[in-house]
Structures are given as structure tokens and as C-alpha cells.
């Protein structure tokens, strides 16, 4: 195991062993030194998991806190955007350091700076992606996580101001300037271009869309307050005045715009003779029909009636076909002998002599399909013939074996 791998393992172990302290620092903002945790706190500080907060207190390091925010999709993720401007500044500084190292042929240093630049670019890209996605989710849910109007309005206003900052920060990134300073460094040029610059218009547009939605929502929120008052007041009024009916505004000279709606058009294949409004129209249509037309001349047919007699009807009893009787005997035998497999062909050879085996098998199969719906203990096994074309999709059955499984328990 290399030294860096060992270091990583030590870091993960420290995180796991002190998870309660870290959680406390994350959720409460600070963890204080006492006789029990002193050693653990020192170790976490050495590993840059915690940093000094006050004389006796420690807080979680910014980057780890951001990672936890992101992993838990916490509301605290909203803090990330404020770092954006400083990240861009750092990126520009790192590019400068990389170029100096490159010019001075310090290969190791330039490689280290490149890794740092790469990480910064990915961080920036991830931050923008996470922020915009998270915001979009919030906007689409219309801040459903908070119940009160005041809190919704507060959140809305907060996110609007934050978004404006974010849009400004992206605008201040000056992609042309960044690309210009790395023009002679193809690796960095490509990295910046692919991972950041090309994505910027998408993020910018997305943020602008979110901003527009938030502004509309803020406008709606102002109305919601009035509406809530209206609904509650009206509900109270209706409870006090159970027989209240609004005035008939449809009779006023100027009908209010919102009640000016068309009556839904309904199309029927025939007119409703009970609708009195149509009476005159129907008379008019009927009068237009000439007397000598086929419709008027046709005689009504005598309706035939079914004859009903009260006399006793002769009943005839139909005898069951022989094959049904034989099937019944076969199935009775299977049902009586629990857990015993009985071959349909063997039964046929012993007791049935006037049915062809193939027809007998098909009768058995049919009868089994009918009975097994009611009785799942009746089991069937198909014995297939080996002959036949491979992959033809057909099965050739040479026997059927039935078994009546014993009831469990």
C-alpha cells in the first residue's frame, strides 16, 4: 500500500471512529473540548476535518461541510453560491502559478498546479449543476416544505437575491478572458472549454428561467395572502348564513366578464322531443317533409309476439357421452389416490378401448385445465416425445400424468 493510500485509509478511519463528534460539529456548528474528547479533537484537527472555532471550540472545515450539505441535499447547500466569486479568483491565480511553473520548467510544480486547476474546474462545474438543479426543484415544488406564507415569501425573496448574485457571478467569469490567458496551454484550454465555458450559457439560461419563475411566484404569493383571507372570511360567512345565495349576476345589464362563458356544445344524433325549446324547430322540420316521401308512406309493421303457453313441457334427460363418463372415472381415481401419479395412457389402455390415444390425451388435458382452476392440488406432468423438429415451437405429448397432491398441514 502506498503512502498516500495509507493516509487516505487513516483519514476514513478517523472519520468513522469520530462520526458522533463530526455530526455534532456539523449540526450544532461547534464542538467544545473536554477531558473525554481532547485527543480525538486534536487528531481531527491534524487531519483538517475540524478547524479552530474559538479558544475551546472546533468547527467543521468548510469543504467537508459543503460535501455533507450536498450529500444530504441539505438546505445549507444554498451557501455554496457565495463562494463562487472567490473560486473564480482562485482559479485565475492557479492558472497564473501554473504558467509560471511551466515557463520556469518546474515540471512537478506545474503538474501539481494542473491537478489543482482541474479540481477547481470540476468543483465549479459541480457547484453550478447542483445549485441550479436544487433551485429548480425548490421552485417547482413552490416551497412546499414550508407551511406558512411568511416563510414562503421570505424564502422566495432570499432565493431571488441569491440567484441574482449567482447570475452576476457567472457573468463575471469572463470566459473569453480565461480562455485568452490559457491560449498557449492546450490542456488547460481544453479543460476550461469543455468542462466550464461551454456549459456556462446553459447554466445562465437555467438560472434566468428560475429567476423568472420565482418572480411570478412572488407575485402569486402576494395574491395568495388576499385569497386565504377571502376563503376563510367567506367560509365563515357561509357558516353563519347557510341559506345565502349570491345575487343573480347573469340578469344584470352588464354581465361580469368571468361569467361570460359559453354553454358547452352538445351534439346529438337526434333531437330531444322533451326539450320544449326545440318544439317549434321540430314542427318546422316536420312540415317540410312531403307527404309522398317513403318515410310518410311506409306502413308500420305488425309486431310479432312470442307465444306463451301454460302447458307442462316434456323434459328429456340427456345421457352423458361415454368419453365423459370415462374421464370422470379417471379423475375420480386420481383424486382418491393422493400423491400417486397415474398415467392417462395407462388408464386408457386398461379401461378405455374405443377412443384414440391422441383424442383421449386431449380430453384429459382439457378436463385438467377446467378442474385445476378450482383445485390447485391437482397437478399435471406432460410426458413429451423425443421426436419432432427442433425449435419448431411444437411439443409432441406422448402421455399425461396426473397427481393429486396431499393437503399441507
Amino acid at each position: 500500500m502506498s503512502q498516500s493510500q495509507q493516509g487516505l485509509e487513516r483519514l476514513f478511519k478517523a472519520l468513522a471512529n469520530n462520526c458522533e463528534l463530526i455530526a455534532q460539529a456539523y449540526f450544532t456548528g461547534v464542538v467544545y473540548k473536554d477531558s473525554q474528547n481532547q485527543r480525538a479533537l486534536n487528531q481531527l484537527k491534524q487531519l483538517k476535518i475540524l478547524v479552530t472555532h474559538s479558544a475551546d471550540g472546533y468547527r467543521i472545515t468548510g469543504r467537508l461541510s459543503q460535501f455533507i450539505d450536498s450529500a444530504l441535499s441539505s438546505d445549507r447547500i444554498r451557501r455554496l453560491d457565495t463562494d463562487l466569486a472567490s473560486w473564480i479568483e482562485t482559479l485565475e491565480q492557479q492558472i497564473g502559478l501554473y504558467q509560471d511553473a511551466w515557463d520556469e520548467n518546474r515540471v512537478d510544480d506545474s503538474e501539481n498546479y494542473f491537478v489543482e486547476i482541474e479540481r477547481l474546474v470540476f468543483d465549479l462545474s459541480d457547484t453550478l449543476e447542483e445549485n441550479t438543479r436544487y433551485l429548480l426543484m425548490l421552485v417547482n415544488s413552490r416551497f412546499a416544505n414550508v407551511r406558512t406564507l411568511a416563510e414562503k415569501q421570505k424564502q422566495n425573496a432570499f432565493y431571488i437575491s441569491r440567484l441574482e448574485k449567482l447570475v452576476n457571478a457567472i457573468s463575471s467569469l469572463q470566459p473569453e478572458f480565461l480562455l485568452e490567458i490559457v491560449e498557449e496551454q492546450p490542456l488547460i484550454y481544453e479543460l476550461l472549454d469543455q468542462q466550464l465555458i461551454r456549459l456556462l450559457p446553459i447554466y445562465q439560461q437555467r438560472l434566468q428561467d428560475i429567476l423568472d419563475k420565482l418572480k411570478v411566484f412572488l407575485f402569486e404569493l402576494r395574491q395568495i395572502e388576499v385569497r386565504a383571507q377571502l376563503v376563510q372570511g367567506f367560509a365563515f360567512f357561509l357558516q353563519q348564513n347557510q341559506n345565502y345565495q349570491p345575487q343573480d349576476w347573469s340578469e344584470s345589464d352588464n354581465i361580469p366578464e368571468h361569467w361570460n362563458q359559453i354553454k358547452p356544445l352538445a351534439l346529438f344524433a337526434y333531437a330531444d322531443p322533451l326539450d320544449h325549446a326545440l318544439e317549434e324547430d321540430l314542427i318546422e322540420i316536420a312540415q317540410k317533409i312531403p307527404m309522398n316521401t317513403e318515410v310518410m308512406l311506409v306502413k308500420q309493421k305488425q309486431r310479432s309476439l312470442s307465444a306463451v303457453t301454460l302447458g307442462q313441457q316434456n323434459k328429456t334427460t340427456l345421457d352423458l357421452p361415454l368419453y365423459r363418463k370415462q374421464l370422470r372415472v379417471y379423475f375420480d381415481r386420481v383424486l382418491k389416490n393422493e400423491d400417486q401419479s397415474i398415467s392417462a395412457v395407462a388408464f386408457q389402455q386398461a379401461f378405455v378401448d374405443d377412443i384414440e390415444p391422441s383424442i383421449w390425451l386431449s380430453c384429459v388435458l382439457n378436463e385438467w385445465l377446467r378442474r385445476q382452476q378450482r383445485n390447485k392440488r391437482l397437478q399435471m406432468e406432460l410426458i413429451q416425445a423425443d421426436v419432432g423438429q427442433t425449435f419448431s415451437g411444437n411439443k409432441k405429448v406422448r402421455d399425461i400424468v396426473l397427481k393429486f397432491r396431499r393437503a399441507e398441514g
Binding site: 406558512t148 395568495i224 386565504a228 345565502y244 345575487q247 349576476w249 361580469p256 361569467w259 362563458q261
Partner: protein, 223 residues
Amino acid sequence: MRIICPRLNLWHRWLNMFDQLLKRLLQGDFICEISDEAGFRYLQDTEHARQVDEFLTRLDYRLSSTQNQLAFYAAYRTIDSGARSDIRKVFQQFRVELQPVVEWLDMMMSCLNQDTALSPGDTLSFSSLLQIIEQNQALADRLQTFAKFKDFTSSDDSVKGRLEKLLSTLQKWGYLTLANRDTLIYQVTGKLDYFYQALQFIQEHEQIPIEQGEVDVIQESLF
């Protein structure tokens, strides 16, 4: 070989949209973002709205929208005696809907423990509502009072049966749409914008007192 031209394809889609929307508008439907997103977007385009309005004009109708532009519907261009008779019927239906819809909106504020009234786009989960009402006798009693409105009488006397009836009637009236059949998530439609507009109008013009302050003072003095 069939050649598919993207522009022609798009044109066909628009033409279909035009047909469908006109049929829905003539059936008296409200076209909103929630009940028909594509149709709503189509009508938001000024040129498309003009074409639909032009067609409706031939029938002496016009394209109208709610005050916040959250839903489109067809209205009469000229209000003659025939139109007035139809509008009377629409108004009668509003009278039927007024009390139960107000009661539902108020009850939802209590159920969801919100100080905001429902708005178009808000979602309601049947299972969550059922759970809340079953755990709160006062809400269960409120739900039961809906039975006094003829469209809400249910043969099933359970809370579940009553809630089902409440939501299905509101869906039938166009205030709700079933957004997810499997999880029974309902979504409030743009028609509610129209309802608020009408409610506001009545409150202002009939001077309905909506302040509860006086009564609160009286109640306070009782203790």
C-alpha cells in the same frame, strides 16, 4: 419509402392541437397548464391564440382567459338573449359550486395546516389527506357536512368513501385533475383562478363581510 419532413410533421402536430383545443373549448373546458400543458402553451402564443379566436369568431364566440392568465376558455362575443340564457345556466352551476368549493378550500387549509389557500398547480395526496382526517375528529366531522350538498352524497359512509366522493366531484367540476392514478395525487387546475375571481367579485359587489374580528372580540370577552 416514406419521407418524414420535420417541418411538415410539426405542422401536422399544430393542426391536431388546433382541432383538439377547439373541441375542448367548445365543450366549455378550461385550458390550463395543469390540465393540458401543451394546449396551454399553444394558446399562450399570440399568433395561435389569434387563429383560435378567429375561428371562434365565426360562431360569435371569442377566446377569453382568467384574470391571471392561468386558464383559457370560450366566451360569447355578443351577449344576445340566447347567450344570456346560456350564461344564466353557467351562473346557476356556479351557485351550486360556491358553497362546497369554499368549504373545501377552507378545510384544506386546516388539513394541510397552512395559512395559504390552494392555488393552481398545488398537489393533494389522497392517502395523506385520509391519514390527517382519520386522525382528527373535527376534520372528519367537517368532511361529513359535505353530505348536505347533493353532488357530494356518498353511499359509502366511511371517511375514505366521503373523501373519494369529495375529490371525484371536484374533479368532475374541473377544479382538480388526477395527476397520478397509482398514487392518487390530485393537482389543482387553473379553473380555481376563475373561482377566486368570481368570489372576489361577489365579495366586493355584495359587500360580504370577510373580517372575523368582531366575532373574535365577542368570543374573547366570554372567557
